[in-house]
């Protein structure tokens, strides 16, 4: 019995997609020209799908710190945080993030995925309940599978449905509500105030994943909970360095006095090597830079609104009524038109994410655009223009506002 036979339907689906010159799952960035441009297959391409929201990947201080860290500490730690993998900078990074969130404690994980895996699997024990939004990121679902808690799911952003489920759970049981600030595929914001207030009413602890909102939501860039003034209702934040911070890694912060015990419990924290010194050093500098980046935040929001308004005016079908984040998702009617559109847009010199199930909710096909604070208004206008050219080329019907 060939164990890979069970994936034959996936192979067939992949083979049926009408890609001619490029395939979204095998794109190679040959050269990164800047935060906003790359060379792909010999073409100068505007990057509009990198999650590099605050444009930190070429931050000079972060790059200098990374190079210096390699010279002083070498290329890797070759060990777990629990053994030989904690250097002075790992502690400094945790202190920097705790300070950024105005909270007492922080744990740094090697990736954002592992941060969710490590927190949810550790917090949700055998007799506990973990209550999640149906559109949660894979790392939240996987954290649920890894732990032993009973998992209760409610419809995306549906406060009333969540409350009805919380009502049915035992009053004295341990309960963790897990929600995200911004949902990564549609770029829509959660009604965190209502969700967290209801969670607290039923005695739940709360974990908010601000992976796609850290950096630009809220006055200090802590995320949607800060923007809505409900940080006091958050027991745990989870976040990542692979978006606004411009590198890779993840973290969790909390004011809980017993938080540090998770360092001895959380397996995705313990049984993996800690992030390398260069990454840790650049993350510290990038987070410090984000803190004082008020202008950059403002420009990012201008970009997001400009892109949303331009695409809407041109008649594209957008996932949100207004720009709720720097993620602007454009609906495609079906997979065939979607793949044609993606490929032709790339040929026009714009890279976006083609998003398809299971990454998207409700079997949707999306051109997912994410922009950053360093895109110029001219680049945003170019993206809009090339979207329209591509729509005409592949026969995507546009419905411009009258």
């Amino acid at each position: 019995m060939d164990l890979l036979d069970k994936f034959d339907s996936m192979v067939a689906l992949r083979a049926s997609l009408p890609f001619e010159k490029a395939d979204p799952f095998t794109v190679v960035m040959d050269e990164i020209l800047s935060e906003t441009e790359a060379m792909i297959d010999g073409r100068r391409t505007i990057l509009a799908g990198t999650n590099n929201y605050m444009g930190m990947t070429f931050n000079e201080e972060a790059m200098a710190a990374a190079k210096d860290a390699i010279d002083r500490f070498g290329t890797g730690t070759t060990g777990s945080r629990s053994l030989n993998g904690t250097y002075a900078d790992h502690k400094l990074l945790e202190a920097t993030i705790a300070d950024f969130y105005g909270m007492e404690h922080c744990m740094v994980f090697s990736t954002g995925y592992q941060a969710n895996l490590g927190m949810i699997s550790a917090l949700g024990g055998k007799d506990d309940y973990v209550i999640i939004d149906a559109d949660s990121h894979a790392s939240i679902y996987d954290g649920c599978s890894m732990g032993n808690a009973t998992i209760v799911r409610f419809k995306h952003n549906n406060v009333e449905q969540m409350e009805r489920r919380l009502k049915r759970l035992p009053e004295d049981a341990g309960k963790l509500v897990v929600v995200e600030g911004i949902y990564s595929m549609l770029g829509d914001a959660a009604p965190l105030k209502e969700l967290l207030e209801v969670a607290k009413k039923y005695g739940c602890m709360t974990l908010v994943d601000e992976a796609h909102s850290m950096g630009f939501c809220g006055e200090n860039g802590r995320g949607v909970a800060e923007a809505l003034g409900v940080e006091h209702l958050v027991d745990f934040y989870v976040g990542t360095f692979s978006k606004s911070v411009g590198t890779v890694g993840g973290f969790a912060v909390s004011n809980h006095p017993k938080f540090d015990v998770l360092r001895f419990i959380s397996r995705p924290y313990i049984f993996t090597a800690s992030p390398p010194p260069s990454i840790v050093a650049s993350a510290i500098k990038a987070i410090e830079a984000i803190k004082r980046s008020g202008n950059r935040r403002a420009h990012l929001w201008e970009n997001a609104r400009r892109l949303h308004a331009g695409l809407k005016k041109a008649g594209f079908d957008l996932a949100t009524p207004e720009a709720q984040s720097p993620i602007i998702a454009v609906y495609m009617p079906d997979i065939m038109l979607g793949t044609h559109f993606w490929e032709n847009l790339l040929m026009e010199g714009v890279y976006t994410n083609m998003a398809a199930p299971p990454a998207t909710p409700a079997g949707m096909f999306l051109m997912r655009v994410s922009i950053n604070a360093l895109h110029t208004p001219e680049q945003i206008d170019e993206i809009i223009k090339r979207f329209v050219i591509t729509a005409n080329k592949v026969g995507l019907e546009l419905k411009p506002e009258a």
Partner: protein, 81 residues
């Protein structure tokens, strides 16, 4: 074995989703007979939860392949509750 009453209630909830007009019975499967996609299954689970005022945990869903499985699970949860 689930009661007729529970089964009938579940048939009722499935009826609007039964686009292929499959004849419903205890052995009808959600995936191959009804061909419900994961989103429809999620909505159906939510309706069953609200109808019986219970929580059907996500961990349990992979084992519920037929209507009878669901009916049995619902009754077990109702009785335990």
């Amino acid at each position: 074995m689930a009661s007729t009453q529970t089964l009938e209630k579940i048939y009722e909830l499935i009826a609007p989703l039964n686009k292929r007009s499959v004849e419903l019975g205890p052995q009808t499967t959600f995936a191959s007979d009804l061909q419900l996609d994961s989103l429809t299954v999620m909505d159906l689970v939510a309706e069953i939860e609200d109808e019986f005022d219970i929580v059907l945990p996500l961990n349990m869903l992979p084992d519920l392949e037929t209507i009878e499985h669901v009916a049995d699970a619902v009754e077990k949860i109702v009785n335990e509750g």
